[in-house]
Amino acid sequence: MHKKNYILSAWVIAGIIVWLMIYHFLQPLTDWFVDSLLGMTQGARLTETVRFFVFEYPKVMLLLLLIIFFVGIIRTFFTPERTRKALEGRRTFTGNVMASLLGIVTPFCSCSAIPLFLGFVESGVPLGVTFSFLIASPMINEVAIILLYGLFGWETALIYVVTGLAIAMSAGYIIGVLKLEKWVEPWVFEVHSGQQEEDNKEQMSLSLRLREGWSAVKEIIGKVWIYVALGIAIGAGAHGYVPQGFMVSLMGNGAWYSVPLSVLIGIPLYSNAAGIVPIVSVLIEKGASLGTSLAFMMSVIALSLPEMIILRKVLKLPLILTFIGVVGTGIMIVGYLFNWIF
């Protein structure tokens, strides 16, 4: 191993120790900050609102920092080329399952959606399998999972991942069965990419992988810190000031129309997980049911208008509408299911 790798690894280990210390002492630090330093009256509304923010915000940011770093490193092992190779020619349900799972770990940003779509279709990945990937990839991401874990606990995070995967698999499968290739813009099938190079040439060193992990942290944290702050600030305000049970009539278990309504409202609302999860956590606290909230959150994250507009370049409108319809129906089923269970 290169000497540089030892130094870098030492830095990483030192960083993790510091992280653990801060995370461990966050609650007493918060209490000290709010009660002693600011000298606020315990139990007062404003105090508890401030306490909520001062505790939750650093907690979520700490979790984001750690997980994004490691996910960033894991992602260096999964290039889109390798994912494509694994999916080529897989028609059956196995293809949809694999595509959904690979969607979680393969690096992807919506600005790469078109080249990725073209690259997949062109090399013989079936349309339905490609869709499973395109649904799972943005919906199940580390930011959503960490925020759900941080603000709701691991059970809800797990429910989100499992149901999200189920939607990506089955929606892709249905689109595949419907044989909708006719609604893909014809020029897509005429694209021929250049020589398929072996990509193992780019064998990465450990130090480069660590650097990639760190640059993922800088990039994602730089993008989401403000949304997380806003989301938790709104959450903190509502936590202290909105009366308990406020959301029961609108998003409660009894209102049957709340699930489809949440999905519809969620489509044009374009937010990333960072902004929406803290707000949803307060909706639930104030009486919204889990199923409805889950449906709302999934709709906001998975069905985004800007992505539809990007995809319109390669897909005809009926296919985009089918896509929204199938995924939306899946989300509604999840919503009703969890409203019924809990």
Binding site: K4, T79, C111, S112, S193, Q196, E197, Q203, S207, E212
Partner: protein
Amino acid sequence: MTDIKILGTGCPKCKALEKLTREVVEKSAIEATITKVENVVDIMRYNVMVTPALVVNEKVVLKGRIPTMDELQQLLTLPKDKTYTFPGK
């Protein structure tokens, strides 16, 4: 004369790579033509699925990430018949 192409559909990362490339070219006085390729069909010719990507003398040398300045300089000044080895190997 080095032929440099930056492939990208206009995402923030692609703009960052273009800017960095221009900086490096200017700083190290590399004789080069820099072209930005934004058309998806043209991008696909290079078999690139994640943008941005850097093409030097018609060869894809980097995709999906932004290099450090040193790394980029090395990539741009590489003799035609040599392949780049990543640092730390």
